[in-house]
Symmetry: C2
Subunit: 340 residues, 2 copies
DNA sequence: CTGAAAGCGCTAACAA
DNA sequence: TTGTTAGCGCTTTCAG
């Protein structure tokens, strides 16, 4: 009942001997495979439990050539964004016997390649990874893996196998349209300076493109290094307005710095959204309790996680053309004037 | 150079044939084990790379009885708290060849047991898990695993093997002392109603204990269900003050709801910290950009992750008595009066 | 420095 | 319904 700390772990053989049946029968009981008489089943379960047997998936995986792991590769955990995606993935994987295993790349392609290599060496049943841009090496590994590969978050590009996400170009364009419709014209942009954050880059490109089509140019831009935070948002907002005091709108590359800017601007007594409008990106509900809600675009993170997981799990078929494009949805909040 | 999608993955044998050496030699090169002549090494590496060979860790793990995985089991990812712990763990594991694998329990003991069972079935080299309270089944599994087990976050109790954390009882007591020293006397508490959040419970117990020793009783308390958010903090703060308008201090069970309360109170024009003092718990730097910094206790999350990882990795020895108690540190912020 | 043989703990496939 | 046999792809061990 209370086994001592064993020198080596228990094997099927130990259970088999304790229960007086073959290893194969034990294996069947423990996996609910094949027909086993209720009596034997009971005997085996009792034996396994009382010994404290924990099956060895390493051996099982090797024998069955099947591993119930799904590799999930994302750039960052501290991002407020990816926990939501993971939530969606876990929720859909929960009843499939598949288990997500998370790897983090810190937006570094070389690290992504290492992480992928490590995860593929466990022969997972599928891969979910953020983004459509990857090193040659990473692409080669993924192509050769012979398992479902779902690239998430972005659909502006060509997937290796399947992509589930939103168009960031479109998200940028639509935000530009909303801002122009509301009558703002002196527009500034504040974003991270990360060449590897392709989605932020695509949003900016789309944003500027749509402005340009309306004959409007970005009046100022401010970039920062390192992670996003409220503090960074305050600081950059102060700086950009010091340089260009007549800006009437600020588009932030994410909600967190946007919220920092919003808090600062309110503290300064700036009339929002009258004198100055603000918008972020993501739709993180962490910030819901602020006295004023920041305008933003919902990046559909939960849905993206769910749909990706459903494909990997085989619940949904691979879509026609390999792409599932969800619609980024504009959330007006309180920081953009209602257009007349 | 550009292999087609293979029906089965490549094996050592494929590389061995391509390079014209034994599988054993290939294995040696790929693991940097034993002596191999530079010429052979080169040949093998070229062959492996050009084929796009990815080693099979399932087979390797079975043969070597060694798996470079560390199971990390935590209650939640969305908590702002655990990403920091994970950061500390990753940082220390990075140069050890060990890889963290994260499992999430949602504060449910039954789920914890399942997650542990699943992770142990991969025969990891160690386990890091949050908390000292576990089901009988979980404890039995951990005791029998025969690998280092490090319980983190808490030290108020008896570890299975090793514990690294802060005393939440002490954190609560120390906060009580600070509040009393600053002259507050009508003190309210706002916290989550989670029987399984033992650390929050211990903080409250310590807090009330220290108040009682000074002859002060909690004047009001308010509990909530579900996750923490700024919005919940606003709402509960409003409610508790509606019920007990003469409270002069609010102690929150975490920074996020504390910040929600702070924002609401400032919006109401309440004088903080004069008329009302506030404090949270954790020291999450996400909130650093708020115009007023919430008083809190730094729970030493990063250090906890690092120290735990060092022990699992064998960089540090298991401490005398099995417990590493870090000091929770009071951060005064701007929401508590400076004592005269 | 390199190779051959044995086997890690389990499951697929078949036999009884 | 249960058992037997033959591996899964690697690494350990020992021999050259």
């Amino acid at each position: 009942m209370t086994p001592q700390k064993p020198r080596r772990s228990l094997t099927l053989r130990d259970v088999s001997e304790a229960a007086g049946v073959s290893e194969m029968t034990v294996s069947r009981v423990l996996r609910n495979r094949g027909d086993v008489s209720p009596a034997t089943r009971e005997k085996v379960q009792t034996a396994a439990r009382s010994l404290g047997y924990v099956p060895n998936k390493i051996a099982g995986g090797l024998a069955s050539q099947r591993v119930n792991l799904v590799a999930v590769v994302i750039p960052s955990l501290s991002n407020l964004v990816f926990p939501d995606v993971l939530g969606g993935i876990s929720a859909e994987l929960d009843d499939t016997g598949l288990q997500p295993v998370v790897g983090v790349t810190n937006y570094a392609p070389a690290r992504e390649e290492t992480v992928l290599h490590d995860m593929l060496s466990w022969r997972p049943s599928g891969v979910i990874l953020a983004g459509l841009e990857h090193s040659r090496g990473s692409r080669a590994m993924l192509q050769n893996a012979g398992i479902p590969i779902v690239q998430i978050m972005d659909v502006d590009g060509t997937p290796i196998d399947t992509a589930v996400g939103v168009s960031h170009d479109r998200a940028g364009r639509e935000m530009a349209a909303e801002i122009l419709r509301a009558g703002y014209r002196r527009i500034g942009f504040i974003g991270t300076h990360m060449p590897e954050d392709h989605r932020a880059r695509k949003r900016l490109t789309g944003f500027e493109g749509a402005l340009a089509e309306a004959g409007v140019a970005l009046a100022a831009r401010e970039f920062y290094q390192g992670g996003s935070s409220l503090a960074k948002g305050r600081e950059l907002t102060e700086r950009i307005l010091a340089r260009e005091p007549d800006l009437d709108f600020l588009y932030y590359s994410n909600d967190l710095i946007g919220a920092g800017g919003l808090i600062w601007a309110r503290d300064q007594g700036i009339d929002i959204p009258g004198r100055l409008g603000l918008a972020g990106f993501n739709g993180v509900d962490l910030l819901d309790g602020l006295p004023v809600r920041l305008a933003t675009t919902d990046a559909r993170r939960l849905d993206i996680g769910r749909r990706a997981a459903r494909i990997v799990a085989g619940k949904d078929p691979r879509p026609e053309g390999g792409v599932i494009a969800l619609s980024p949805t504009f959330l007006p909040g309180d920081t953009i004037r209602r257009p007349r």
